[in-house]
């Protein structure tokens, strides 16, 4: 199992959960130090794991990293694309750099990770690709316009991948987690609060209490659903989007 963004947050929890299920883990992250930390933790529990630094905005970096995984573990069965950036700015203030960065990582990077992994999976009889999307892909959001647009693109890439790769026994699905306690979530909400002149704690509280289940989720809770998309039980799923957002996304 190869996971981008495996050094932090959701990616890290997913890596640990998959290791428990005896997958051999490849942690890909732009933050090599974090990636290495995760691998060290996995090694302490005698799980096979490696890391590779990757900048998904660079296709050559992706290719190199995936080849390193294959060199170590001889195949890729599962690719999980969890790496993402979430630039926060009011719609009227978004800069070209913000926009390009969101798309370079979340869309272009994700696409080429999917494509390059699929080329390798095709040679070894198939596999699964799981793209992490967001309820933001369906929502209009004054402060997350670039992020939301990028996640809508992820949904489309997932569908196209499902259709294009079905004949190679490759399933492609996406998963939309709701509000989770991660550094990324904290960073985006702090930035939003700052830009909008709001109190951060009150913002978080209201954005938690307004959820139908009145609580946030955790990377560990979401990791169970990611696992479901990787095992035989979900063999008939492709091109679908698993909405696990605590009722945040109802449309």
């Amino acid at each position: 199992m190869v996971i981008t963004g495996g050094g932090h947050g959701l990616g890290r929890a997913v890596a640990k959960r998959f290791a428990q299920e005896r997958f051999r883990i490849c942690i890909l992250d732009i933050d090599a130090v974090a990636a290495q930390e995760v691998v060290k933790e996995l090694h302490k529990q005698c799980y096979p794991a490696m890391f590779a630094q990757v900048d998904v905005a660079d296709v050559n970096s992706i290719q190199w990293a995936l080849e390193a995984c294959v060199q170590r573990f001889s195949r890729i069965d599962i690719l999980i694309c969890s790496a993402a950036v979430a630039p926060v700015a009011h719609y009227l203030e978004v800069t070209p750099e913000d926009w390009d960065r969101a798309f370079a990582v979340n869309v272009r990077g994700l696409f080429f990770c999917n494509q390059r992994a699929a080329r390798l999976m095709r040679k070894t009889g198939g596999g699964r690709i799981i793209n992490i999307t967001s309820p933001a892909s369906y929502m209009g959001h004054a402060y997350y316009a670039a992020y939301a647009a990028s996640k809508a693109a992820v949904d489309s890439i997932t569908r196209s991948g499902a259709v294009a790769l079905a004949e190679y026994n490759i399933r492609v699905n996406s998963l939309a987690p709701g509000r989770m306690d991660t550094k990324m979530q904290e960073a985006t909400e702090r930035k939003w609060a700052e830009l909008a002149g709001l109190n951060y704690e009150q913002l978080v509280e209201s954005r938690t209490q307004s959820l139908p289940l009145r609580r946030r989720t955790t990377p560990e809770e979401i990791a169970e659903a990611v696992l479901f998309l990787a095992v035989d039980a979900s063999d008939y799923m492709t091109g679908s989007r698993l909405n696990i957002s605590g009722g945040l996304e109802l449309s």
Partner: protein, 259 residues
């Protein structure tokens, strides 16, 4: 680790192919399953479904009839003292070209598939609303059998498609209202399943077989075991942050435009 240890689960349309496959998987995971159906279980399937340390029982129930539904759920509550999961799975299919659909066809389909699902969901939710949350913090889960066609048309299936689309919105509205009670509501949307009517048509009709092969990106019809695994995910604690959602397991059907 069994995933449904001690959970009490009712399945309408429980004696059909999907219902039995789901009951089989649930029993293996430690659940107590009550099959609700107008027809009794075919006895050989009934025996196969029983494992070593679980219970499986049957109660006659016509989901079109509110009194019938309320009576069986009342009986389940008295016997088992709680209800953890209800699956509104009873459904009929009666394909007809749109211009030829009769009121009888329309009503027959909606009465079972939509109104029947409503009766089931409401009776179950009323019980769950009054019971204490389990150790997982949840009072209960109501699941529906939807269909990939709740998202996309298939020729000559108007009344069926309308009923499944209605289920989708019922699930979302229920989810929204009942979330604060910690009752989770989700839909499982299978693809074209090798069961019941589709199975008969597949075996008898080469045109249908060809149409199916072209229509499904994964190239095959879905097994009932696959559907059962989807229900297992939705019924177990693995999906406790999921509500108001559809788990679409359709082999890619809904992505593909076809002639």
């Amino acid at each position: 680790m069994p995933k449904l240890s001690g959970r009490v689960i009712a399945i309408t349309g429980g004696c059909g192919d999907i219902g039995m496959a789901t009951a089989r998987v649930f029993c293996q995971e430690g659940a107590t399953v009550v099959l609700l159906d107008v027809d009794p279980p075919r006895s050989s399937l009934g025996k196969k479904a029983r494992g070593a340390s679980n219970t499986l029982s049957y109660l006659p129930c016509d989901v079109r009839d509110r009194a019938s539904v309320e009576a069986v759920f009342d009986r389940i509550l008295r016997q088992h003292e709680r209800l953890d999961v209800a699956i509104a799975n009873a459904g009929v299919v009666a394909n007809e070209p749109f211009l030829e659909i009769t009121d009888e066809n329309w009503k027959a389909t909606l009465d079972v598939n939509l109104t029947g699902a409503f009766h089931t969901a409401q009776a179950a939710a009323r019980i769950m609303a009054k019971q204490k949350p389990g150790k997982n913090g949840i009072r209960g889960k109501v699941l529906f059998t939807g269909s990939w066609v709740q998202e996309m048309p298939w020729p000559e299936g108007t009344s069926y498609i309308v009923s499944k689309s209605g289920i989708k919105m019922m699930a979302k509205t229920m989810a929204q209202e009942l979330a604060k009670l910690k009752i989770l509501v989700n839909v499982l949307a299978p693809g074209i399943v090798m069961a019941g009517l589709s199975k008969k048509i597949y075996e008898a009709n080469p045109t249908f077989r060809k149409r199916v092969g072209l229509a499904i990106p994964l190239g095959e019809m879905q097994t009932v075991e696959s559907v059962a695994q989807g229900f297992l995910f939705l019924a177990s604690d693995d999906s406790n942050y999921m509500t108001g959602a559809t788990l679409l397991m359709d082999g890619g059907n809904s992505l593909v435009r076809r002639d």
